[in-house]
């Protein structure tokens, strides 16, 4: 099959599907049409697209909480607890073995967790539990559920089980190779993502909205523009296969003006590119998550950081905020630490309400610079692929025109080095071979020079290392 950003035929999809469902016994239990009917019967308050649409009308920022344990019972107890505490959406994290398609190891983790009476997995192994048992969660909890179904190398079966269980899912390709994979080929990863997107459209085209989370994180320290580029590319791939509800989740840099500029631009620019390619019926939602870098171990300091991130979300006018927990630097969150995070988020929303950061010259300039940065990279990808995003993506990775800071994937150049400027916005100390316009490069250089002057030293690796731990230490 020639790899290009073209919608797959039914034949291509169903041919591949036979193999995918054979990877673990629970795959064979999936009946797509039965799953569509199951989802159609879900009450409105369990449908994320409906809840999100209403919240947008009310200009209300919703809150989602992440969790995941080895067994259905542990996970359900945690979910019921958070539902009662007022969480708007519950996000289930799969465990690391499931993410790597190591279902035998996940099975051992479940068995050992039952034996020891505590979760030894860092997330929920949805493929091992299978659709029938996963639906206990959907049926028992009165809020929508999303599952990070498209992580790591090959999420095809994970996504199948996720959608058939009544959960919302996720989509990404290059972004997750950079973030979570070591040596997996990009072309194969893109095909796996196309499969997940094409599967999503099976539901969408039968009247079942499925929201897909699209991360704009990278390693957490990358400049905002690069994160937005990744999200736009993932949206264009998803839209071509027929996904219609895309939720971009941006991780903040914890610089108020810069982050708000990014949050405004991610919505505008994603819609701009979707329309440019003729995808006019896609609903784009924007979320902001909590800090993704190194967290303080001290619980009070972690609580303060959660509060700052939730404030950025509200002031940036996002549709929902993705919480982490006060235990972020200490453990996989238990229900008490997630409750603390939820209460912090609720208080921020109750306090800040409909306040939004006002326009200012500084905000305008940051938005302008981010838009130039993003358009330059995305347009170059389109140019390299002669109009085909996937062909462009494959070439741009080779040339370093798509790149990232601190990648774990060995096939990207990894030349980008981020450093904070005098007021804490993340800038390019080194932009590698990213095709940035001259004025953007100059702007970042000037901003770094202001810090160098203030601190009377040159920006270097030492400064980069200090920045990485500046929030946690």
């Amino acid at each position: 099959m020639q790899l290009s950003n073209k919608r797959w035929s039914d034949e291509e999809f169903f041919d591949m599907r036979k193999e995918v469902l054979s990877w673990w016994p629970t795959g064979k239990e999936i009946d797509l049409d039965e799953a569509v009917e199951y989802r159609k019967k879900l009450p409105k308050h369990k449908v994320w697209a409906d809840k999100l649409e209403q919240a947008k009308k009310d200009e209300k920022c919703l809150l989602y909480v992440m969790l995941g344990h080895a067994t259905v019972e542990q996970t359900l107890e945690h979910m019921k607890f958070l539902e009662q505490a007022g969480a708007d959406l519950l996000m289930i994290m799969p465990d690391a073995y499931t993410r790597k398609r190591k279902y035998e190891e996940a099975e051992r983790g479940v068995t050992e967790s039952i034996r020891q009476g505590k979760s030894l997995l860092n997330g929920y192994p949805m493929v091992n539990h299978g659709v029938k048992r996963n639906r206990v969660l959907t049926d028992s909890v009165n809020v929508p559920i999303q599952l990070l179904s498209c992580c790591d190398e090959d999420p095809r079966l994970n996504h199948e089980v996720t959608l058939a269980s009544g959960f919302n899912g996720q989509t990404m390709d290059l972004h997750d190779l950079i973030q979570h994979c070591k040596d997996y080929p990009l072309d194969k990863r893109i095909r796996n993502t196309q499969y997940a997107n094409r599967l999503t459209s099976y539901y969408e085209e039968r009247g079942v909205p499925v929201n897909l989370n699209i991360p704009a994180n990278l390693c957490g320290w990358d400049p905002l523009g690069m994160k937005i580029v990744m999200a736009i590319l993932a949206c264009l791939l998803a839209a071509e296969q027929g996904a219609r509800h895309l939720d971009i989740g941006v991780t903040p840099t914890c610089h108020l003006v810069h982050d708000v500029a990014g949050l405004k631009q991610v919505r505008a620019l994603t819609n701009e590119y979707l329309h440019r390619f003729g995808y006019n019926d896609v609903t784009v939602s924007v979320a902001c998550s909590s800090w993704q870098g190194d967290w303080p171990r001290d619980l009070y300091r972690a609580a303060s950081l959660l509060s700052i991130c939730a404030s950025i979300s509200v002031l940036g006018g996002v549709d929902y905020h993705m919480l982490r927990s006060v235990q972020e630097a200490r453990a996989i969150p238990n229900k008490e630490s997630n409750l603390a995070a939820l209460r912090i988020g609720q208080q921020v929303i109750a306090t800040l309400g409909k306040q939004r950061l006002s326009e200012s010259d500084e905000l305008k300039l940051e938005q302008e610079m981010i838009a130039k940065e993003v358009r330059a990279i995305v347009d170059r990808v389109i140019e390299l692929g002669q109009g085909d995003i996937i062909a462009g993506e494959l070439k741009a990775v080779q040339t370093g025109e798509l790149d990232a800071a601190f990648p774990c994937w060995i096939h990207v150049k990894g030349k980008v080095l981020p450093v904070r400027d005098a007021t804490g916005a993340i800038r390019y100390l080194d932009h590698g071979n990213l095709p940035l316009p001259k004025d953007v490069i100059e702007y970042h250089r000037q901003k770094i020079a202001e810090r160098e002057k203030a601190e009377k030293r040159k920006a270097d690796l030492e400064m980069v290392i200090e920045d990485v731990v500046c929030i946690s230490r």
């Binding site: 979760s119 860092n122 979570h180 070591k182 630097a329 453990a331 290392i465």
Partner: protein
């Protein structure tokens, strides 16, 4: 004084490489030779790299919570490979559940690690320790 080689990497199925990347930068700057294995490194890969390069230490990073499972048996395998005395350091978020740091530290010392570091430890701390431990100073 000959250059000491250290092997760095993130053990198991863990792909969080920021810490190990910065360790590599810092150790290289401090004059060490670094074999940076990056993400998702098996015990065998750590050991093979250490044997091939005659390394003085293996610096294991882990963030995702599965370290107790992933690190079990590493010391024994080192001994079997003739690396009985190699320094083994581990650092990061080393448990899925909340526990006292002293308990975490003892658990990993019992597994045969010489030094155990909590999250956010600066590379300079490990560099000072390794110089002491190797009596390089």
């Amino acid at each position: 004084m000959s250059t000491t080689t250290v092997v760095t990497g993130v053990i198991g199925s863990d792909c969080h490489v920021v810490g190990t990347t910065l360790l590599r930068y810092a150790f290289e700057k401090a004059g060490f030779k670094v074999v940076g294995l990056g993400a998702c490194v098996s015990q065998e890969e750590f050991i093979n790299a250490a044997v091939e390069t005659n390394a003085g230490a293996i610096l294991v990073s882990s963030i995702y919570g599965h370290a107790p499972i992933d690190c079990e048996g590493l010391r024994q395998k080192c001994q079997e490979a003739g690396l009985g005395k190699i320094l083994l350091y581990v650092g990061g978020l080393l448990s899925t559940s909340e526990e006292d740091w002293k308990d975490t530290e003892s658990k990993f010392k019992a597994l045969g690690f010489d030094r155990v570091y909590p999250p956010s430890t600066l590379p300079a701390v490990a560099i000072a320790d390794i110089r002491n431990d190797l009596a390089l100073n």
